[in-house]
């Protein structure tokens, strides 16, 4: 179908158009994360590499009482070590998501959203110990269901005395939240049988298949600042596997502590 790319593009822009007239909050989002990760690519090694993980992402967030739309670009990495060998797993991704408030009356301050996420990434694996298999390129496109719950807590302004000193605490608002992305459809591009990358053979000639899983969970808390900006501290757990259809199973997991800033644009 010739118009397929146009339709996909329209479906991505459509939520923005829907939200345009709803006086939403618009944010520039910036995030950095660091933690522990592990990665195993059976095409080159039966061993799991453990080490540091980290990443950063940035993008645009469109938030209203009924909808949430995000476009984020990200880079993340896991650098693992086995003996003197170092494996670097570097991922660059674009992430589009749209969630809608569910008509569930939990409380006035609680918002339950559900929707979908489209995640596309190019992932590089680099380990100089593997000679002509030292460099590898993977592709992943994921369609996931997203569910998130958020509850806003407001602590009223208060004054108290301690050891003769007067303390004034201003009103503060926090929003603990939990978000989970459950994959529905994953399209993978992985090396073919011989697992070679440094050759005159077609570099993009990969083994393409549907399957595997890629789960992401985020737990955190947002602090609402007076000027409308937000600060966020969260724990992100991600685990993925290319599954049984891959010629060589690829698995990764990471546990990151993330710090994020939301700069209000309107």
């Amino acid at each position: 179908m010739k118009n397929k790319p146009i339709l996909i593009l329209l479906s991505m822009i459509l939520p923005l158009l829907i939200l345009a007239g709803q006086n939403p909050d618009k944010f520039l989002y910036m995030n950095t994360a660091m933690g522990y990760g592990h990665v195993k690519d059976s095409g080159t090694s039966p061993l799991r590499y453990h080490g540091l993980s980290g990443g950063a992402n940035s993008g645009y967030i469109h938030h209203s009482s009924t909808h949430n739309f995000e476009i984020l670009g990200s880079v993340s990495s896991i650098s693992g070590l086995v003996q003197e060998h170092i494996l670097n797993y570097l991922s660059t991704a674009m992430d589009f998501s749209y969630t809608h408030s569910l008509p569930v009356n939990l409380s006035d301050n609680t918002q339950l959203n559900a929707g979908a996420e489209l995640y596309t990434s190019m992932n590089f694996l680099i380990n100089p110990s593997y000679q002509n298999a030292a460099f590898n390129l993977d592709f992943l496109i994921k369609l996931a269901l997203r569910a998130e719950i958020q509850h806003k807590i407001t602590i009223q302004a208060q004054t108290f005395h301690l050891a003769g000193i007067k303390f004034n605490i201003k009103e503060q608002s926090y929003s603990p939240f939990c978000r989970i992305d459950i994959p529905v459809l994953i399209f993978n591009g992985r090396p073919k049988y011989a697992y070679v990358s440094d050759s005159d053979l077609d570099f993009f000639n990969r083994h393409y298949f549907l399957g595997g899983f890629d789960l992401k969970t985020q737990l955190g808390i947002k602090k609402h600042l007076k000027n409308g900006n937000l600060m966020e501290l969260s724990y992100i757990w991600r685990m993925g596997s290319t599954g049984k259809r891959d010629i060589y199973l690829f698995e990764h997991g990471s546990h990151d502590l993330a710090f994020s800033l939301y700069f209000k644009l309107n």
Binding site: Y36, K40, S42, G43, T44, S45, P46, L47, R48, V82, Q83, E84, H85, S129, Y130, Q131, N132, A133, A134, K192, Y193, A194, Y195, V196, D198, S199, D200, L201, T217, L219, Y235, W237, M239, S241, L249, E251, G253, H255
Partner: protein, 327 residues
Amino acid sequence: MGVFFTSCELAVFSADPAETPTATFEYLWNMVDRQYAYFDVKNVDWDNIHQIYASIIHDDMSDDTLFYHLARMLNTLKDGHVNLFSDFNVSRFNISGLGPQNINWRFLKDNYLGDDYYITGPFSHDFIANDQIAYLRYASFSDLFSSADMEYIFNRYKDSQGMILDLRQNGGGYMMNIFELLSYFSFYDGPIYTTCIKSGPGHEEFTEPENNYIQAADSNLHYQKPIAVLIDRGSYSATSMFALSTLELDNLFLVGDTTGGGLGMPNGGQLPNGWTYRFSITRTLTPDGINYENGIPPDYYAVLDSTDMQQGFDTVIEKALDILLNR
């Protein structure tokens, strides 16, 4: 929370392998069995090799002993592209040892080039045979050269009757240098060799052969006169590929001893105990489908002869000169 989620991962992810000598041996044997590209010409019964080494290797042996046996197992393939790497040793098969020492650089300088030969980029070169023939020594395909290097060399030797390109003991290097060098020597537009890659675990499971072509250099620098390419058992990997490519080219011919082979692309991997390895996973054939992995034979055989050397002659160069000057 992290501990809880890590526990979830362990329940879902594949188990890590045992790091024992027997697990390491089985893994390596299997990887070679499923991915090595040249069983057809190596005359090795790999199943029998498994039987032999399975009876030798046990879990109580030291790393040193395990390395010794795994290296011996790999060396039954007699392949210079097969190595085992540990933090204390590197196994290898001495392919150049299959033939005689066929070049003596000091002797060559003393008797042909003198001390004032030119060095342009990676090439050592000068006129020999009363300035009738250009001599060009290229010691490694890992050494890069520029079009300016080639321009200087071809201008200097444009009036020579022919050229000797000495690739003896050139152990290979970058594939791109093969095509770059050949692009100055020929306008041939047919396939020079074909490559196929392992596509499954069977010893004969390969992709369809893909043709490889030379793209003639975009300049006036082509050297179309006869070129004698000197080779020996130490001419390995990319150098063997270069020698293989000359089979399709009319103005290049091979003089010396059979090359070492090594026409496959070695791929690496890791074993359960952390050591790494490499072996060839591609097969390179002539456009007619001939497999020269065990070495490309010369068009004109010549090896260094001690009697010739006593008289100041490099037998291989003399053979090349004889052909070039009387062609």
